[in-house]
Symmetry: C2
Subunit: 236 residues, 2 copies
DNA sequence: CGTGTTATTGATAGATCTCAAAGATGGTGG
DNA sequence: CCACCATCTTTGAGATCTATCAATAACACG
């Protein structure tokens, strides 16, 4: 797995796009490597923001815990995505906890190193800005959805987004290729696992999705999109 | 008003912090000026992201409109804050509409100019990254609030945030110093103006706030904070 | 086969939205 | 200076969505 970590991998990461080979080598030399087993965390909410990371392989979720212990999933991270952005953006502590959903492998750079790299190669800073900017837009989309949509629509949107990000074409449709419990979906959409369970079941009966234990396959993306967009009608 | 636009003003803006005088002059030369009258817009949702701006004076709100015509307030902008960040971050079109709440004055830089400035003065890119990063954290806070809190708590949080951002000490407490309708508060918190009206009225009876037409004064910030944080009890 | 996790399901309660109407408020123009 | 108008706000009643509470069921794993 480690052999994959070379210039070609790095060049495919948004953060390091457009760098020449010597710059990529520079970045690579400064990186430290880290393997994370399923269930382990890379950093925890409140920890000092020491480093930012790029996931090489595997899958993570970043979640915030409220004072009352409720979890909110900030984001799922897949290969070639960065996480721990705060450390790049100059934050002092991580706002969430990054946990591995599957066995994973990441490379990271300390905050100081990152600052140096960005000064040496301004393109990296511009790339980072672009990435953080698009994360900001996504976050605003979620705010909009949470503010204006009913639960069913939010679940539909969430599944479509997950399929986009981590969908694998299979015979039955598009399968989300990592273990995703009802609880997880609830934490992404701001609802309860019960409501997610009921909703998914209905959709399964309508042939829109196929669900299993920690498994969701979208059979009819168009129908799901219609549900996500639907102004105000009924179902089943 | 225009006389205020000089290096000292620019140096007080997060985006341009830490630049030397010649760099500030460089930035200043590239700026274009723009006055916006109450009710006018600087840019509209979907417009090509041509420029980013710093508000010199006045107050704006940035809002997204959904397909069904509902509005969601993304953010209120006060003096020395940047807006139209997308244009810095490399986005192609504005995700929201910026409207002046009071007569305002802004300075702006085209996307190309911004890119040039950031390459000439990497510190600007780092500053921008910091700003966008903290916006991202704020957005995640809102997602968390919308996902886990009841309406009353969200309204409390929103008012506290607004007081922080645009609060003026007055005899009666802390007044939010721009016209803020019930509808506005509803669009920030993802509820309806009716619920906001009822909630504010209750709080007024309890002496927590004083409300008027498009006017909110927080009389007892501690009580409001308690409501915002309250795990699960009743009131009135 | 236990055992712990994850998922399903039914009944009920409550928080909010919706619908509807009436009351304030402040600005404007005659 | 006053009447009028457009906005903004308040308030009530009823409808609904969704959370909560409480079990049971299905599944995976050692």
């Amino acid at each position: 797995m480690e052999s994959k970590i070379d210039r070609s991998l790095l060049g495919a990461v948004d953060m390091f796009r457009g760098l020449d080979e010597s710059a990529l080598d520079d970045v690579l030399r400064a990186a430290h490597r880290r393997r994370i087993r399923r269930g382990e965390t890379v950093f925890r909410q409140g920890d000092p923001a020491q480093a930012f990371f790029v996931l090489v392989d595997g899958r993570l979720k970043v979640a915030q815990t409220t004072a009352e212990g409720q979890q909110v999933v900030v984001r799922f991270i897949g290969p070639r995505e960065m996480f721990g952005c705060v450390a790049v953006a100059g934050g002092t502590s991580y706002p969430g906890t990054a946990t591995a959903i599957s066995d994973s492998f990441a490379i990271g750079w300390s905050q100081a190193t990152t600052q140096n790299l960005m000064r040496r190669h301004p393109q990296i800073a511009l790339n980072a800005l672009g990435t953080v900017g698009s994360r900001l837009q996504e976050a605003h989309s979620r705010v909009r959805e949470l503010s204006t949509e009913r639960v069913e629509q939010r679940i539909a949107h969430a599944l479509l987004r997950l399929a986009e990000q981590a969908g694998k074409r299979v015979a039955a449709g598009v399968e989300i290729e990592f273990p995703l419990s009802r609880q997880d979906v609830a934490e992404v959409t701001g609802t309860t696992l019960h409501t997610v369970s009921r909703t998914l079941r209905h959709w399964q009966q309508d042939g829109v999705v196929a669900v299993g234990r920690q498994r969701v396959t979208i059979r009819d993306p168009d129908a799901l999109l219609r549900i996500a967009e639907e102004p105000a009608e009924a179902a089943s």
